[in-house]
């Protein structure tokens, strides 16, 4: 069984009538509820927004591989983040062959720092190509942080530029390193022998 480690914060926004689901780093959310809109803010991080137009279900994850996925430990974490999202969609009636993806994020917001964002974009694009999932849109790379909204039932997405993404990007890296450390030390806490 696949389960997201953390649960996003949800609240009803009286201005637009939607339930906003804030998908932060390390989280995944899948829904077939047309009243929900998934939101996130990205610096170097990636959000993969997947949608099945027939089953009318969609979802978003949000992750950062601190070395861009170039090392085994990070690649494993990235693959797992994508698998959690895909399996969540399949459980709600999506078909793998119908999945459409939009990718956001992967910006290089801190000048002089190695381009972690570009590595993450390369990882996500390769994953989708290898798994045969159509990449139909999104916006990646660049130098500005992004605020993304994704309507999972229709597959519609939009983004706004965020003025100062440097603090955000630094925090993303810290969280990613801590998460990977935690994952590598995660106990296999069911004893068989």
């Amino acid at each position: 069984m696949i389960q997201a480690a953390a649960q996003p914060r949800r609240f009803l926004n009286p201005q637009d009538g939607y339930v906003h689901v804030q998908v932060t780093q390390g989280e995944t959310w899948v829904t077939a509820d047309a009243r929900e809109v998934l939101t996130t803010v990205l610096g170097s991080c990636i959000a993969a927004c997947l949608h099945d137009p027939v089953a009318k279900v969609g979802g978003m994850n949000h992750f950062l591989l601190p070395d861009g996925g170039g090392q085994d430990r990070a690649a494993r974490y990235g693959v797992n983040a994508m698998e959690i999202l895909i399996n969540g969609l399949l459980r709600q009636g999506a078909a793998r062959a119908r999945l459409e993806a939009k990718l956001f994020g992967g910006a290089s917001v801190i000048a002089g720092l190695s381009d972690v964002g570009a590595g993450n974009v390369a990882f996500a694009e390769k994953f989708l190509a290898d798994e045969g999932i159509a990449l139909v849109g999104g916006d990646v790379r660049g130098t500005r942080a992004r605020r993304v909204q994704f309507w999972p039932v229709s597959g519609r997405a939009r983004q706004l530029a965020v003025s100062d993404g440097r603090t955000l990007a630094a925090r993303e890296l810290m969280v990613a390193e801590a998460t990977l450390q935690q994952e590598s030390e995660a106990p296999h806490d069911v004893e068989l022998f």
Binding site: I2, A75, M82, H188, L192
Partner: protein, 129 residues
């Protein structure tokens, strides 16, 4: 049970990327004879007709899931003695208990390190080197 270089392992997962990761890990611990399949149905004939010592199978797959695959293997005379390691998304005690009840030899929680992969296989087949 043969040492790493002579061990034949079958990897079953609906995601190509995960299969590739597992097989890369197997190579890193000296297991060069591995085959991978996107589902249980595809793996079935290969396991029956080719040497197979260990099956590493995802639980969450469309069609036949990992537990159904395990039960089918244990009910088949030619496959009932093949070691079975279940790949899961988390250390779910109920799932692992059911897997053991059905005859699983071990389990592996994703994401895992190469060291953990080696440890889990060695717990089943003995030292690899």
């Amino acid at each position: 049970m043969p040492a790493a270089a002579k061990l034949h392992v079958v990897v079953v997962d609906d995601q190509l990327t995960m299969r590739t990761l597992v097989r890369t890990g197997l190579q890193q611990i000296g297991i060069v004879n591995s085959r991978d399949f996107p589902g249980a149905a595809e793996a079935w004939t290969s396991i029956q007709t080719h040497p197979t010592h260990v099956v590493i199978s995802d639980f969450n797959m469309p069609g036949m899931d990992g537990l159904e695959f395990l039960r089918a293997m244990r009910a088949c005379d030619t496959m009932k003695n093949v070691a079975f390691i279940l790949l899961t998304g988390r250390a779910d005690k109920e799932l692992v208990a059911r897997a053991v009840q059905f005859g699983a030899n071990n389990y592996l929680v994703k994401p895992f390190t190469v060291a953990t992969l080696k440890q889990k296989i060695e717990q089943v087949v003995g030292p690899l080197s």
